[in-house]
């Protein structure tokens, strides 16, 4: 771990805060609009045949939405990297072990 901030650097973190919450209301609404648009696109797969692109496109859109919320709404993009490390460690482990476990059931070969 390299995120160790020593004692005497703590006062400087007041300036971090300005960055942390730097996104404007307008920005949040833009993000929400993009999210809404992607959701609409996702739902459209139910009505329109995407052919072989169906599964990959849905998964990609899911991942994009996921990371947009995490990065902007949850501020991970602007916040201290330690928060990202902690959260992504859990996410990475979860994806890793459960995908591996499902693979032993030949889940992805069906």
């Amino acid at each position: 771990m390299t995120t160790d901030t020593t004692h005497n650097t703590a006062p400087s973190h007041g300036t971090d805060h300005a960055v942390e919450h730097g996104m404007s209301t307008r920005g949040y609404i833009n993000i929400a609009l993009i999210l809404a648009a992607i959701t609409a696109l996702e739902v459209s797969t139910y009505y329109v045949d995407f052919g072989p692109l169906f599964l990959p496109s849905l998964l990609i859109m899911m991942v994009v939405k996921f990371f947009m919320v995490v990065s902007y709404f949850m501020h991970l993009k602007f916040d201290n990297k330690l928060f990202s490390w902690l959260f992504y460690a859990g996410l990475f482990l979860a994806v890793g072990v459960y995908v591996a476990a499902l693979a032993t059931f030949h889940f992805f070969l069906r």
């Binding site: 996104m23 739902v43 996921f66 330690l82 902690l86 959260f87 859990g90």
Partner: protein, 210 residues
Amino acid sequence: MLRPATVMRLGHHMADTATHEAHVTSTGLSNVKLGMWLFLGSECLLFGGLISTYMLYRGRVSNGPTPEQIYDIPFTSVSSFVLLMSSLTMVLAVAAAHKKDDRGTNLWLTVTALLGATFVGGQVYEFTAFYNEGLGFTTSLFGSSFYTLTGFHGVHVTVGIIMLIALVAINKRSRVPGSKSETVEMIGLYWHFVDIVWIIIFTLVYLIPV
């Protein structure tokens, strides 16, 4: 030698020590926020397990309806959209709290709680409809794992709503503007997490057929 008498847990020392000593953490980050992110990292493993169980069992319908037969995609799309938008209102509440705008904070928190309640209401409606169509908790593996996964998510949303309402109540009694801004931020993180779990559930459970 330090006199034991000076070791007090008394409030009138709180102000000066709090602003000087207690606030300085080794990383410069808030304890509560670190704790919340750790908790959310942990929750990934919880929902991962429930989602995996559902993925493994969704096609195993020995009895009763299959997913395709009962999912109402247009309805669920609307409630998903509602939950997604509650993330926007939540983030606006957090922004207002940071500006010490208590009125705005309370407004957006209330809207968020209402959107969340709409989502939960939709879920209750959906469960009832599914039950009437023959999918009970004990009907099939699909039923058991579907209700467990979405039920756990629903409970998380409900807990979030309770926290939002409680926060509005506490905020209204507070005489100090922005005094709860960190609490707002923490509940915000929790709320967004519940939202991203639903983003995954919506795709994996509802949109991708067996």
